[in-house]
Symmetry: C2
Subunit: 87 residues, 2 copies
């Protein structure tokens, strides 16, 4: 499946979250990652994120679709990192 | 159609971009908006964003799907703003 993960976490935890997500996903722009994941990888990510963030103040959202082609994606401004064309 | 807009813009332009997008979409968390848009609304948004941001340094990404039910959404941590259940 294809996932977009966006996070809004306190500055002291940003680099840990970013570093962790880079192991599984592609960094797209500040606080945004994307990529193909298996169900077990996603479960591992969710589990680890719960350790890394403060569940009372931080927020992470995982958007999941069955395959990336159903999302149309458009950039305005610079492309900070593009791994592949999604239409 | 349903759109998720994420932006990574310089701090001096963040409030203008945020204020503008609030007119059309729901603020979800830092630098993330979501909502239903018509094609003409999206065209207006794209046009205005090109004025508001620095196209050489800032980045905005628009993810678009035909209807929101095809995106599964999951929160970890707090829900900063939830307008409706997507699942």
């Amino acid at each position: 499946m294809y996932c977009i993960i966006v996070y809004d976490v306190s500055v002291e935890r940003v680099s840990k979250v970013c570093h962790f997500l880079r192991q599984y996903l592609n960094w797209i722009q500040n606080s945004v990652f994307e990529g193909e994941l298996t169900e077990s990888e996603l479960a591992r990510i969710e589990h680890k994120l719960k350790d890394l963030i403060d569940l009372n103040t931080d927020s992470v959202i995982i958007y999941k679709v069955s395959f990336k082609e159903i999302i149309q994606k458009k950039h305005i401004g610079i492309v900070k990192n593009e791994t592949s064309t999604i239409i």
